[in-house]
C-alpha cells in the first residue's frame, strides 16, 4: 500500500471506549491490524483497545546481559588468580563465598544494563505499521493511525467522525 495515506483520528482521554469502538469499526471496514497503530499519552493494555499483543525481546536481551555479567565475574574471580596467584588472608585461591559477591554484582549489572540497551535498540529499530505523531498525544489524546486505499478515505472519515473523533490532516502529522 505504498500510495496509501496515513490518517490520524483523535479521541480525548476520557473517550477510551469510543477509541476501542473505532478500532473495531476499522476492522469491520476491512482495515487489517497491521495497517493500524495507536499512540497515547498513557499506557493502555492491548485488551482494552482490542489490539493484538505487542512483543518485545527486552527480557531476552536482559537475560543475555546477565549471562555475560556472570561470565565476566568468573573471569575476574578465577582468571585473575590464574594470571597472578596471591594468597590472601589464609583463603584458598578460589574462595566460593567471596566469588558469590562479585558474581552477584556483575550478573545484576549485566542484566540491568542489557535491559536498557535492549529498550534503546528496539526503540531506534524500524517499526511496522503507520507512523506519525502529533503533540496532542502528550496532552492525553488517544491517536489512531491507519492507512487505507484513497478511494475509501471518505468512508473511513465518516465512520470516525460518527464516533466523535477529531481527524488530523496528513500535513499536521509529524515525523519524529
Amino acid at each position: 500500500m505504498a500510495d496509501d495515506t496515513v490518517h490520524m483520528a483523535f479521541f480525548k482521554e476520557d473517550q477510551i471506549d469510543l477509541a476501542a469502538e473505532a478500532i473495531a469499526t476499522l476492522h469491520s471496514l476491512g482495515i487489517a491490524d497491521s495497517e493500524i497503530s495507536v499512540i497515547s499519552g498513557v499506557p493502555f493494555s492491548e485488551k482494552i483497545l482490542g489490539r493484538p499483543m505487542s512483543w518485545t525481546r527486552v527480557g531476552l536481551i536482559g537475560l543475555a546481559g546477565a549471562v555475560v555479567g556472570f561470565l565476566t565475574a568468573q573471569l575476574l574471580n578465577i582468571g585473575t588468580v590464574i594470571q597472578y596467584p596471591i594468597r590472601v588472608g589464609g583463603m584458598p585461591y578460589f574462595p566460593i563465598p567471596t566469588a558469590i559477591v562479585v558474581t552477584f554484582a556483575l550478573t545484576m549489572l549485566g542484566l540491568l544494563i542489557a535491559t536498557f540497551i535492549g529498550v534503546f535498540i528496539e526503540t531506534i529499530s524500524p517499526s511496522f505499521g503507520p507512523k506519525g505523531y502529533h503533540p496532542k498525544v502528550s496532552d492525553g489524546h488517544i491517536g489512531i493511525l491507519f492507512t487505507c486505499p484513497p478511494w475509501e478515505d471518505d468512508q473511513m472519515h465518516a465512520a470516525m467522525k460518527e464516533l466523535g473523533a477529531e481527524l488530523i490532516h496528513r500535513s499536521e502529522v509529524k515525523d519524529l
Binding site: 495507536v38 499506557p43 482494552i48 559477591v101 562479585v102 545484576m108 540491568l112 526503540t123 496532552d139 492525553g140
Partner: protein
C-alpha cells in the same frame, strides 16, 4: 456482593462532603492531562531571584567547602583531616555511609511501592529516584577523598597493573567499588527510563536548545503500543532486580566493617542493621525533599499532598521500630556475652564524654518518631514531618559516628585508646557534599519534570468513586 455496585464519574456531585473529602486525594482529584502538563512545565520554568540565589549559594558552597578543602588536602597531605592513630576512619567514612544510606530509600520507595502497586507513590517516585542518583554521586566521592592519593583511584578498577596484578576481589573495598558502580548505573537508568514519556512531553512544549536536548533524550518517543509495552516490561524488570541490588549495596558497605576483627564491628547482624538504618534515613530524606518541593516549587502543592506525608510517615514509624529492634538485638548480645572489652566499649558509648551523641541518636531515631508519628494529624502536617525527619537524619548521622570513630577509639588495648577531634577539613568536606547534593537537585528541578505526569494521569484514570450501598468509596481499576 448483595449490594448493588454502580460506577459513577467523580465530577458528578451528589453528596458534597464525601466528594470533597475524596478530592483531598490526588488520585480522586483529576485534572485534564493538558493542565497537568502545563503545571509541571510551569514549575520547571519558574526562575525566581530566590532560586538563582540559592543555586549560587549552594554551588559556591560545593566549590569552596568540598572541592576547595579537598584540593587543599591533596596539596597539603591527608594529615589536615585530623585522622590519627587509632582512628583512621572518621567523618569521611561516616559521611560515605550516611550518603549511601540516603540513596537507598529513593529506589526503595520507588521500586517496592511500584512492585506492590501502592498508588500513593505516583507523584513522588521521580523525586525519590533523583535523590538516589545524587545521593550516590555525593557518597561515591568519599572513597576517593578518603584514599588520600586520589590520583591512583583507578587501582580499584578491575584492571591489571604493569605486573599483571589485579585488584584483590576478596576484599570488601573492591566489592564496594563493584556494588556502588552497579547501583549508581542501575539507579540512573531506573530514573531515566520512566522519564522518557515526560521528556517527550517537554520536547513538545519547548523551543531552541531545550527542545533539542529533550528531543535527543526522548529517543523519538511517540507513545505507540509497542513503546509502552517495552517500557512497562523494562520498568518491571528494573523494579524487581534493583531491590536485591539495593539490599546488596548497603550489606557490602556493612561488610567493610563486619569482616574485620574490630571490637563492636564483627557482627553477623551488621548487614540487615545497616539496611534498616539506611532505609530509615532515606525515607526521612524523601519526606524532607517533598516538603521543600511542595513549599518552594510552583504548582507542587497540587501534586504533593498531606496523604503523601501521612503514608511516608507510617513507613518512617515502621522503620524506626525495625531500627530499634536491630539496635537492641545487637546491643543485648554484646552486653549479655559479658566480654570485658566489649562491655567497656558499650559503657564508654553510654557513659563516656561523648555519651550525648549516643543518647541523641536514641532520642532522634526512636524517641521522637515513636512519640509523634502514631498521630495522623502530625503525619499529615508537612512542616512537622520535615522537622521530625530532619531530626531522624541527625540521629542516623550520630549512629554512624558512634559506630565508626567513637568505636575505633576504644578498642581492646587501653594503651591504644584515642580521641578523635575533627578538623575544619573534616567538617568542611561533608558539609560541602550536602551543598553539592542540594545544588544538583536544584539544577535538576528546572531541567527535568520532577512529577511523572503520565503515571499521575494513569493513576487518576484508574481511580473512581463507587457507590456501595449508601456510601461512595474509592476504587482502583487495573488498567495494565
Amino acid at each position: 456482593m448483595a449490594a448493588e455496585i454502580s460506577e459513577i464519574p467523580i465530577l458528578q456531585t451528589a453528596e458534597h462532603s464525601e466528594e470533597e473529602e475524596a478530592q483531598e486525594h490526588l488520585m480522586l482529584d483529576p485534572r485534564p492531562r493538558e493542565e497537568l502538563n502545563r503545571m509541571v512545565m510551569e514549575s520547571m520554568n519558574s526562575y525566581t531571584k530566590k532560586y538563582w540565589f540559592f543555586l549560587a549559594v549552594f554551588g559556591l558552597g560545593a566549590a569552596v567547602l568540598l572541592f576547595g578543602a579537598w584540593g587543599n588536602m591533596i596539596a597539603t597531605g591527608i594529615g589536615v583531616s585530623g585522622k590519627t592513630r587509632p582512628i583512621f576512619w572518621a567523618t569521611f567514612i561516616t559521611t560515605f555511609v550516611f550518603w549511601i544510606g540516603i540513596s537507598h530509600a529513593g529506589t526503595f520507595v520507588s521500586a517496592i511501592l511500584r512492585v506492590f502497586k501502592a498508588e500513593f507513590r505516583r507523584p513522588f517516585t521521580r523525586a525519590a529516584e533523583l535523590m538516589t542518583t545524587f545521593g550516590l554521586a555525593a557518597g561515591a566521592l568519599f572513597p576517593l577523598i578518603h584514599l588520600g592519593r586520589v590520583w591512583v583511584f583507578y587501582w580499584m578498577v578491575p584492571y591489571p597493573n604493569a605486573r599483571w596484578l589485579w585488584p584483590n576481589f576478596r576484599s570488601p573495598i573492591v566489592w564496594d567499588f563493584l556494588a556502588i558502580t552497579t547501583y549508581l548505573l542501575s539507579s540512573t537508568i531506573y530514573l531515566y527510563m520512566p522519564l522518557v514519556p515526560d521528556l517527550a512531553m517537554a520536547r513538545d512544549r519547548t523551543k531552541g536548545l531545550r527542545h533539542a536536548i529533550y528531543k535527543l533524550l526522548a529517543l523519538g518517543w511517540r507513545g505507540t503500543e509497542a513503546e509502552w509495552f517495552r517500557l512497562r516490561k523494562a520498568i518491571n524488570i528494573f523494579a524487581f532486580a534493583i531491590i536485591p541490588v539495593m539490599f546488596s549495596v548497603h550489606t557490602i558497605v556493612s561488610w567493610d566493617f563486619a569482616v574485620t576483627q574490630t571490637l563492636g564491628w564483627h557482627s553477623t547482624i551488621f548487614g540487615p542493621y545497616f539496611i534498616i538504618g539506611a532505609i530509615l534515613s532515606g525515607v526521612s530524606a524523601v519526606v524532607m525533599i517533598l516538603f521543600v518541593l511542595q513549599s518552594t516549587m510552583k504548582n507542587m502543592a497540587y501534586f504533593i499532598r498531606k496523604e503523601h506525608f501521612d503514608g511516608l510517615g507510617k513507613l518512617v514509624l515502621i522503620f524506626s521500630m525495625a531500627w530499634a529492634y536491630f539496635f537492641f538485638n545487637e546491643y543485648i548480645l554484646h552486653w549479655y556475652g559479658g566480654e570485658a572489652d566489649i562491655r567497656r566499649l558499650l559503657t564508654f558509648h553510654a557513659e563516656g564524654p561523648t555519651a550525648w551523641v549516643w543518647y541523641l541518636m536514641l532520642i532522634c531515631n526512636v524517641g521522637i518518631p515513636w512519640l509523634t508519628l502514631w498521630n495522623k494529624k502530625i503525619r499529615s502536617t508537612p512542616w512537622l514531618m520535615f522537622a521530625i525527619t530532619m531530626l531522624i537524619n541527625v540521629g542516623m548521622y550520630f549512629e554512624r559516628l558512634t559506630i565508626i570513630p567513637l568505636t575505633l577509639g576504644h578498642q581492646r588495648s587501653m594503651f591504644d585508646w584515642g580521641e578523635y577531634i575533627p578538623t575544619l577539613t573534616d567538617i568542611s568536606i561533608p558539609v560541602g557534599t550536602l551543598c553539592l547534593f542540594i545544588f544538583l537537585y536544584l539544577a535538576a528541578s528546572r531541567l527535568i519534570p520532577l512529577i511523572p505526569v503520565w503515571e499521575v494521569q494513569e493513576g487518576q484514570m484508574a481511580h473512581r468513586l463507587r457507590k456501595v450501598g449508601k456510601a461512595k468509596v474509592p476504587s482502583v481499576t487495573e488498567l495494565e
